[in-house]
C-alpha cells in the first residue's frame, strides 16, 4: 500500500511511532475480539442473504409446470379478428368461426340527418353495408351513441324492402330473432348493452347483398353557459386532435334577429352565409375511407347569435325564416373526426320557458310515434280535439333558461358553507394533497359575510369549530393551518360526517346552506348514505367533489342529484384551481332556487324529474310532464335573488313535437333505475321500466327492437354460417373507389401467417384493407397465431383503461441490501486482513 506523502502520511508515521510504545497484550486482545465479531458477522450475513433469497425467489420454484410457454412467444395476434368490445365506431361485424370473434365488414356509406328542435335533436343514421362473401351471413352492428340518446326506431332495408322494428321485451325479442334466423328469414335485433352502447344483429344477409340499416334516436342538447352544442360521433377512436388552429367557420347572425316572442322564435337566415368558405384540411390518407354525408336542420327556437361548425366545412341553406339547415360542404368526409356544431343565443333578461307539447292516445298494444307531429296543423286545436277522446295523455317539455344579464348584478345572500373532507386511507398520496389544495382554494373564495365549518373524517370525525363561524381573517387562517395538517389514514365512516354536515341549527333561515364534500367515495354503504341525504337534507344543498383518478362517480353524482347540488370531478392536481373556481362561481351565483312548477289542475301530473334542481348561471333546466289535462297554463315559482318569485306561462303556445313523450319516458326510466338501486322491489321496478319501454317504443335495458321479414329468403339447404371469400368483386362495387387505393389499415404481416394465393383475392384484400390472416380466418378460420402486432383494430381512444403499476421494489431492495452487506463484509475483511498481516510479515 502506497500512501501519498501528505498530512495523512505524517499521521501514519506518527502511528508507527506510537505503535512501538503500545503493549502487546491489549493489541492481541483487540485482534481476538475483532476476529470473533467478524466470524459472527460472516455467519449472520450468509444466513440473512440465504433467507432473503428464499423468501423472494422461493415461490418461483414450486409453481413452474414442466412445459412452459413464454408469454412472449404466444401473444394474441389475430389481425382484424375483433370482439364487439374492440369496436369504437359503428361497424358491421361478421361472425368468424372462432367463437366470440368477428370480422369487420367494410363500411360503405353513412348518411346522418339531424333535426334540432329547440333543446331536442333527432338523428337518423343510415348506413349501407355490403356482405362481401358469397355465403349467407349474420352480422352484428355495434354502435356507441350519446349517453342521453333514446333509441326508438330501427329500420332495415334489404334490397328494396323496408322492415320496421317492433318493440318487445328483451327476452321475447331475442327469441323472435333466433326463430327467424333459424327459419331463414331476414331479421334484425337492436339491443341496449349500456346506456350508450347498442348492438344490432342482422340475420340472413344474402351473398354480396347490400343492407341498409337505419337507426333513429333523440337526445337533448347539452348547454354550457350560453353555448349549445351538438356533437355527432362519426368515429369514437382515435379521437380527433384539433389542429393548432381549429377550423371555425363563423356565421354571424346578429344582423337580423327576430323578436323573442314565446321564447322559441326562430332566426332569420343571414344573407351572406354562403360565403362561409373555410377549407377543410384533408388529414393524411384516411381521407378516402368511410364516406359520410351529414345534414343538420337547426331550429334553435331562440334568437341566434353565432353558429360555429368546428372541424368541418358546411354549406348553409336558408330554409324559410324559421330555421337554418346546413350540410357538409363536401358531402363526403373522412369519418375521422366528430362533427361538432355550436350555437349561442342572445342573452335574455328573464327566465325563459321553452315549451313543447305532444298529445298521445294511450295505446299500450303498440302506439306509434309521431302522431303528434303528423296532424300538427294548429297546436291548440289539436289538443282540444284529442282531449275529448278520453284516454289521451298530454306531454309537455319545459326548458328553463336563466336570465344571465340579471344574474350579473345579483346580490348573493350570505351563505353557510360546510366543507367535509375525507381523510381515510384510500385518499393517501396525491388524493389527499389534491383535497387539501382544493379546500384551501375554496376557503379563499369565501366572503367575510359567509359562515363556514370544516369537518374531516376517516373512521373518526372531527369538526373545526363547534358551530359555523364567520369567514373572517382570523378564522380563515385557523382553518388553513388545520387543513394543512390533515393526513390520510384509517378507515372510511362517512355516515356520521354526512349527518354532522347536514345538521342545521336554523333550518328555516332564508340563507343558502351549501355542503361541499371532498372525497373519493370509496364506501360500501351507499344506500344508507342516500337515505340520509334524502331524509335530512332540508335547505342544504350537497355538492360533491370527486378526488383522485378513479373516484366513485356513481355515488357522488347521485348524492349531488339527491342533494340538489352538482358533482365536480378533479382528476388531476393541476385542475384544482380552475375546477374549484368554476364550482365557486356556480356556488356564489345561483339564479333561482327552490323551483317548482304547478298547474291549474295538479291532479295526475307526473313530472320527470320529479324534483327540480336549482338553476345556476349557464344552465338550463329541462323537465317533462305527463298528464291527462295539463290545462292552459303553468306556474313556475321559486326564490330569485332570495325573494319569492313566480311566473305564469300560457302553455297553449307550446310548439308540437313528437319527441316529448320519449324524453319524458327516458327521464322516468332513469329515475326508476336510480330508485331500483335503493329499492328492495327490483322486480317491480323492472316491470315498470319494461312497461315504459314498450309503451314509448324505447330501447331500454329490458326492451329491444326486433324486425323480421315475412318470407324466408335463404334457401333451405344452405347454412347460415358457412362462408367463402368471394373470388372477385361484386358487380357495381368499385372497391378501390370506395375504399381508396391503399389499405387504410396497415397490419404488420406476420412472417408465418397463412397467406392467400389467388390474385383477385389479394386485390380484394387490398381494397378491403384486410390482412391475409384475417381473410383466411374468414374462409377457413384457423385461429391465427403469429407475431404480428395487433395494430390494426386495437383502439387507441380516450376511453381506454389505464393499467396500474404492478411491480414492487422488493427485488431491487433486496439486491441493494445484499450489495451493501457484501460491501460491508468486504470492508471488514480487509480491515481484519490489514490488522493480521503485520504480525505475519
Amino acid at each position: 500500500m502506497k500512501l501519498p506523502e501528505t498530512f495523512f502520511n505524517d499521521r501514519i508515521k506518527d502511528r508507527k511511532r506510537k505503535r512501538h510504545s503500545i503493549a502487546l497484550h491489549p493489541k492481541a486482545d483487540l485482534e481476538h475480539s475483532f476476529s470473533k465479531a467478524f466470524k459472527i458477522w460472516i455467519g449472520a450475513y450468509a444466513l440473512i442473504v440465504a433467507a432473503a433469497l428464499t423468501v423472494t425467489f422461493g415461490s418461483q420454484a414450486h409453481s413452474s409446470p414442466a412445459t412452459t410457454v413464454s408469454p412472449q412467444a404466444a401473444p394474441i395476434a389475430s389481425p382484424l379478428l375483433v370482439t364487439p368490445d374492440d369496436m369504437q365506431s359503428g361497424g358491421l361485424l361478421f361472425k368468424a368461426k372462432e367463437a366470440g370473434k368477428y370480422i369487420e365488414a367494410p363500411k360503405v356509406a353513412t348518411d346522418i340527418k339531424v333535426d334540432v328542435t329547440g333543446p331536442v335533436a333527432r338523428t337518423i343514421v343510415t348506413q349501407k353495408f355490403l356482405n362481401p362473401s358469397d355465403a349467407w351471413v349474420e352480422g352484428i352492428y355495434v354502435f356507441p351513441l350519446p349517453d342521453t340518446a333514446a333509441v326508438d326506431q330501427l329500420k332495415m332495408k334489404i334490397g328494396d324492402r323496408i322492415i320496421e322494428g317492433k318493440i318487445k321485451p328483451r327476452e321475447e325479442a331475442r327469441q323472435i330473432y333466433e326463430a327467424a334466423k333459424q327459419e331463414g328469414k331476414k331479421a334484425s335485433l337492436l339491443e341496449q348493452q349500456r346506456p350508450n352502447l347498442f348492438t344490432n344483429a342482422v340475420a340472413n344477409i344474402g351473398p354480396k347483398d347490400s343492407i341498409t340499416i337505419q337507426i333513429e334516436y333523440q337526445q337533448t342538447i347539452p348547454r354550457k353557459d350560453e353555448e349549445f352544442s351538438l356533437r355527432v360521433p362519426l368515429v369514437v377512436a382515435p379521437r380527433y386532435n384539433p389542429l393548432a388552429k381549429p377550423l371555425q367557420p363563423v356565421i354571424d347572425l346578429k344582423a337580423n334577429q327576430s323578436d323573442g316572442g314565446n321564447g322559441w322564435s326562430s332566426t332569420d337566415p343571414v344573407p351572406d352565409r354562403d360565403t362561409i368558405t373555410a377549407p377543410v384540411l384533408d388529414p393524411e390518407k384516411d381521407g378516402k375511407s368511410n364516406p359520410v354525408s351529414l345534414s343538420v336542420d337547426l331550429k334553435a327556437g331562440f334568437p341566434l347569435d353565432k353558429v360555429v361548425s368546428h372541424y368541418h366545412d358546411v354549406v348553409i341553406k336558408p330554409a324559410g325564416s324559421k330555421e337554418i339547415s346546413l350540410s357538409l360542404k363536401n358531402e363526403v368526409v373522412p369519418a375521422d373526426k366528430d362533427f361538432l356544431l355550436t350555437w349561442t343565443g342572445k342573452p335574455t333578461e328573464t327566465p325563459n320557458l321553452g315549451l313543447f307539447s305532444q298529445t298521445l292516445k294511450d295505446d299500450p298494444a303498440g302506439r306509434q310515434t309521431g302522431d303528434g307531429q303528423k296532424k300538427e296543423a294548429n297546436g291548440e286545436e289539436r289538443e282540444e280535439e284529442t282531449l275529448s277522446e278520453g284516454d289521451t295523455n298530454q306531454y309537455l317539455l319545459a326548458y328553463i333558461t336563466p336570465p344571465y344579464k340579471l344574474a350579473k348584478d345579483l346580490q348573493t345572500p350570505p351563505r353557510e358553507v360546510v366543507f367535509v373532507i375525507d381523510q381515510s386511507g384510500s385518499m393517501d398520496g396525491p388524493s389527499i394533497r389534491q383535497a387539501r389544495e382544493s379546500l384551501i382554494e375554496a376557503l379563499g373564495q369565501l366572503r367575510p359575510e359567509d359562515k363556514f365549518q370544516i369537518i374531516r373524517f376517516n373512521n373518526e370525525m372531527a369538526q373545526l369549530f363547534p358551530a359555523p363561524q364567520p369567514a373572517d381573517k382570523e378564522n380563515l387562517s385557523t382553518a388553513r393551518y388545520w387543513v394543512a395538517a390533515i393526513q390520510a389514514g384509517g378507515g372510511t365512516e362517512m355516515l356520521p360526517a354526512m349527518q354532522a354536515a347536514l345538521k342545521d341549527a336554523n333550518p328555516n333561515a332564508p340563507t343558502l346552506r351549501q355542503v361541499i364534500f371532498l372525497t373519493d367515495g370509496a364506501i360500501g354503504n351507499e344506500r344508507e348514505l342516500f337515505e340520509t341525504v334524502k331524509a335530512q337534507k332540508g335547505r342544504s344543498r350537497i355538492f360533491t367533489v370527486g378526488i383522485g383518478s378513479a373516484p366513485n362517480s356513481f355515488f357522488m353524482s347521485r348524492a349531488a342529484e339527491v342533494g340538489r347540488g352538482t358533482f365536480t370531478q378533479i382528476g388531476n392536481i393541476t385542475e384544482v384551481k380552475s375546477k374549484m373556481a368554476e364550482l365557486f362561481t356556480q356556488l356564489t351565483t345561483p339564479v333561482a332556487t327552490d323551483l317548482s312548477i304547478s298547474f291549474a289542475n295538479d291532479k295526475d301530473i307526473e313530472a320527470s324529474p320529479s324534483e327540480l334542481p336549482d338553476l345556476y348561471k349557464g344552465e338550463p333546466v329541462i323537465v317533462a310532464f305527463k298528464g291527462k289535462d295539463l290545462g292552459n297554463e303553468l306556474t313556475l315559482s321559486g326564490r330569485f335573488d332570495n325573494q319569492p318569485w313566480s311566473m305564469t306561462v300560457d302553455i297553449t303556445k307550446a310548439a308540437p313535437s313528437a319527441a316529448v313523450d320519449k324524453l319524458w319516458a327516458r327521464g322516468k326510466i332513469r329515475q326508476l333505475e336510480n330508485e331500483r338501486l335503493l329499492s328492495t322491489d327490483s322486480a317491480g321496478i323492472d316491470k315498470a321500466i319494461e312497461t315504459l319501454g314498450l309503451r314509448h317504443h324505447l330501447v331500454t335495458r329490458l326492451t329491444s327492437l326486433v324486425a323480421v321479414d315475412v318470407t324466408p329468403v335463404r334457401p333451405e339447404g344452405e347454412a347460415i354460417d358457412s362462408r367463402k371469400v368471394p373470388l372477385n368483386l361484386p358487380d357495381g362495387w368499385n372497391m378501390d373507389a370506395v375504399f381508396g387505393d391503399e389499405p387504410q389499415v396497415q397490419p404488420s404481416m406476420a412472417p408465418n401467417a397463412p397467406t392467400g394465393s389467388a390474385a383477385p383475392m389479394r386485390a380484394l384484400k387490398r381494397s378491403f384493407g384486410l390482412s391475409a390472416p384475417a381473410m383466411d380466418a374468414m374462409a377457413t378460420s384457423p385461429a391465427p397465431t403469429s407475431n404480428a402486432k395487433v395494430a390494426a383494430l386495437v383502439p387507441t381512444g380516450g376511453n381506454q383503461i389505464l393499467l396500474p403499476k404492478t411491480a414492487t421494489p422488493a427485488s431491487l431492495l433486496i439486491l441493494a441490501g445484499i450489495a451493501l452487506l457484501t460491501l460491508a463484509g468486504a470492508l471488514l475483511a480487509w480491515l481484519q486482513w490489514r490488522k493480521i498481516t503485520p504480525e505475519l510479515r
Partner: protein, 224 residues
C-alpha cells in the same frame, strides 16, 4: 508497508457496520414486501370465508381500505389468491385488485384483475393458453374462464375499453416478470368464459348499466 492506526480501524469498522446495517435494513424492507403480501392473504382468506357465509363484505383488518370481493384460482399454476376491491394505491401490496375501471365480476364486460409481478402474480409467467381460471364470487356460482392468450402492452395503450359488452377476464401484471425496476410494459392474459359460465353471464345485467343510465336532464352531467 505502513499500517493503519487503531483509530482508523475503529472508523473503518464503524463505517462497515453502518453500511452493513443499511444493507440489512434494505434487505429486510425488500423481504417484508413479499412476506406482507403472503401474511395479508392469510388474513384476507379469513375475511373471505366470512363474506362467503353471509354474503357481505368484511374487512380483513379494521383499518383496511378495501375488502375481498372474489377468490381467484388457477389450478395449473397452483395459484390461490383473494381479490380485493380497488381502493387507493396500497391495495396491491396485499392482494390482486379488481380494477374499478373495468366491469364488476360476473357481469357482461371486461373485468380486469391486476397484481404485482413479483408477489401474487409471479406464477403468471408460467401461464399457458387453455389454462382454467376460476373466480369464486361473494354470492352466486363460481365462474370459470379459459385463457385464450396474452399480450404485452404499454400501460396507457392497453386497448381495453371501459364500455365493453362481452364478458372477458383480463389478468394484468408488469412485464417483464423478472425485471428489477418498474417499466411502462404490462403483461395481459385474456380469459373468456367457458360455455357454462358464458350462459350464466349472458343475461347478467351489469351494475354499470344501472349506474350509467342516461339522463335526459343534461343539466347535471353536461357541466364540465
Amino acid at each position: 508497508m505502513r499500517y493503519p492506526r487503531p483509530t482508523q480501524y475503529k472508523l473503518g469498522t464503524l463505517g462497515a457496520v453502518a453500511l452493513g446495517l443499511l444493507g440489512l435494513g434494505l434487505l429486510l424492507w425488500g423481504s417484508w414486501i413479499p412476506i406482507k403480501a403472503q401474511l395479508a392473504q392469510v388474513l384476507l382468506e379469513r375475511a373471505w370465508q366470512q363474506s362467503r357465509t353471509d354474503g357481505k363484505p368484511h374487512k380483513a383488518w379494521p383499518w383496511a381500505d378495501s375488502w375481498p370481493v372474489a377468490r381467484l384460482t388457477i389450478p395449473s399454476l397452483d395459484l390461490h389468491t383473494i381479490i380485493l376491491k380497488e381502493a387507493g394505491g396500497e391495495g396491491l401490496a396485499f392482494g390482486p385488485v379488481l380494477l374499478a375501471q373495468g366491469a364488476p365480476l360476473g357481469t357482461a364486460g371486461t373485468s380486469i384483475i391486476a397484481a404485482h409481478r413479483d408477489t401474487h402474480f409471479q406464477p403468471l409467467q408460467h401461464l399457458q393458453t387453455g389454462a382454467l381460471v376460476e373466480v369464486e364470487q361473494m354470492t352466486g356460482p363460481t365462474l370459470t374462464y379459459r385463457i385464450d392468450g396474452s399480450k404485452i402492452v404499454r400501460w396507457d395503450q392497453s386497448g381495453l375499453q371501459k364500455d365493453s359488452q362481452s364478458p372477458l377476464l383480463v389478468l394484468s401484471s408488469c412485464w417483464p416478470f423478472n425485471g428489477m425496476v418498474g417499466g411502462p410494459l404490462r403483461y395481459l392474459a385474456f380469459a373468456s368464459p367457458t360455455e357454462a359460465t358464458a350462459r350464466r353471464l349472458a343475461n347478467a345485467t351489469s351494475t354499470v348499466i344501472q349506474h350509467q343510465l342516461a339522463a335526459f336532464t343534461e343539466a347535471a352531467s353536461q357541466r364540465p
